[in-house]
């Protein structure tokens, strides 16, 4: 089962680098290592908040937390996976080796 977490830097987990500020659904993420400031939509903020507070998590755990009490479909998992892959390419999340 693949699990996801916040990325590691040279000095350990980079959790302290990230600040997420939300107004309503949308939010802004700051990465102190790179200085980047970006607006993210509600789902991206929700997933990132989960990683910030409860890493490491599997895709199904993330999906379940996003849609509590609902029956999860293949589409839901795909959406979560795509988001996580995007996070990975941006350097804000890492896939942990099994």
């Amino acid at each position: 089962m693949t699990r996801w977490a916040l990325p590691d830097g040279l000095q350990g987990c980079r959790q302290a680098d990230f600040v997420l500020r939300r107004w309503g659904e949308e939010g802004v993420v700051y990465d102190d290592a790179t200085g980047s400031v970006q607006v993210w939509n509600g789902v991206a903020c929700d997933v990132f908040e989960l990683l910030l507070t409860r890493s490491p998590l599997s895709e199904s755990q993330i999906a379940a937390a996003l849609l509590p009490g609902e029956d999860l479909t293949e589409e839901d998992f795909t959406m979560v996976r795509q988001l996580l892959l995007q996070f990975q390419s941006m350097g804000v999340a890492e896939c942990l080796p099994d």
Partner: protein, 310 residues
């Protein structure tokens, strides 16, 4: 010239000839709150501009003062085909030389550069800043937004000027620190100000600069006399001038407002997390709007009717 230092000497207490002589020799020491600046220049238009536009600013005695935040000069550079001038801060020449006629404007741009390059204990944001009823309005804006006309107009309409170009924000308290200096005007706005406010004191006009025709108008006496009063932001407005357009106001979503603010900030990244959180707190505290206007009076009326954020 008064010899003692007990009464604060204003630049206007010196004649233009005295100002010119000082600038050519030991230089002028000026209190430009919150900084002290030591200026030298042999160029006449710089003396004229300073004498007019900083008339009410305090002139200090260099020997007693001892420490200046910035030692600057604008000097002539002779080229065989075109007379030029150069801005220098203590041996650093960050800009390529400009045309000789732009010497006064060069000083103003150079002073802005000094603050944004070397002052990092405060957060600096590229924005116009004015105050009314104890709360501050910020207008971060790219060139061409009509910000300079609006800024001058608000000042003449009773708003206290903190800065026309640069908001200085204390990261801890969230208070904005005033730094009132001449308001820069471009192209059309110079004529607009001249027509509407004949009492306005306009400085040297520089034509054909990179920004078009540029001039500066003296800050109001109230703005200068209250330069020690910091205040909290209440409104973040993104103005856009469009000739012939009627007034339209939209709320500006806070997440995007924060990104705009960060991209207009010269040193948020230097402050790291604390800087980001200070800007987020500012956005949180303010009502954020997009303002599109074609009529200056309509815009002024809207600003005057602004209420404090709930």
């Amino acid at each position: 010239m008064p010899a003692g230092l007990s009464a604060a000497l204003r630049l206007a207490d010196m004649s233009l000839a005295q100002v010119r002589q000082r600038l050519r020799s030991d230089g002028l020491w000026l209190r430009l709150p919150p900084f002290v600046v030591h200026v030298r220049s042999e160029i006449p238009v710089v003396a004229q501009g300073l004498h007019l536009l900083y008339a009410n600013h305090e002139c200090l005695d260099g020997a007693t003062q001892g420490f200046a935040d910035f030692h600057v000069s604008v000097n002539a550079r002779r080229r065989w085909f075109r007379p030029l001038c150069s801005f220098e801060m203590d041996g650093f020449r960050p800009f390529t030389p400009l045309a000789y006629g732009e010497a006064y404007a060069f000083l103003e741009w150079g002073l802005n550069w000094c603050v944004t390059s070397y002052c990092h204990t405060l957060l600096t944001i590229h924005s116009a800043v004015l105050e009314k009823n104890g709360r501050v309005l910020l207008m971060p804006a790219p060139p061409g937004s009509g910000k300079s006309t609006l800024c001058a107009a608000l000042m003449f309409n009773g708003w206290r000027l903190l800065s026309d170009e640069m908001a200085l924000l204390e990261p801890g308290s969230g208070l904005v620190v005033p730094a009132p200096r001449p308001v820069s005007l471009k192209n059309r706005s110079i004529e607009v100000v001249r027509q509407r406010w004949p009492q306005a004191v306009l400085g040297p006009v520089a034509k054909d600069t990179m920004k078009g025709t540029v001039a500066h108008v003296r800050a109001s006496t109230e703005s200068l006399s209250r330069a020690h009063e910091r205040a909290l932001p209440a409104w973040l407005v993104f103005p856009k001038y469009q000739a012939g357009e009627s007034l339209t106001v939209q709320p500006h979503a806070k997440p995007d407002a924060l990104v705009q603010l960060a991209s207009n900030s010269f040193n948020q990244h230097v402050h790291g997390r604390r800087g980001f959180e200070a800007l987020a707190a500012l956005v949180d505290r303010c009502d954020c709007h997009d303002l599109c206007y074609g009529d200056l009076d309509q815009a002024l009326a809207w600003f005057d009717a602004l209420e404090l954020p709930s």
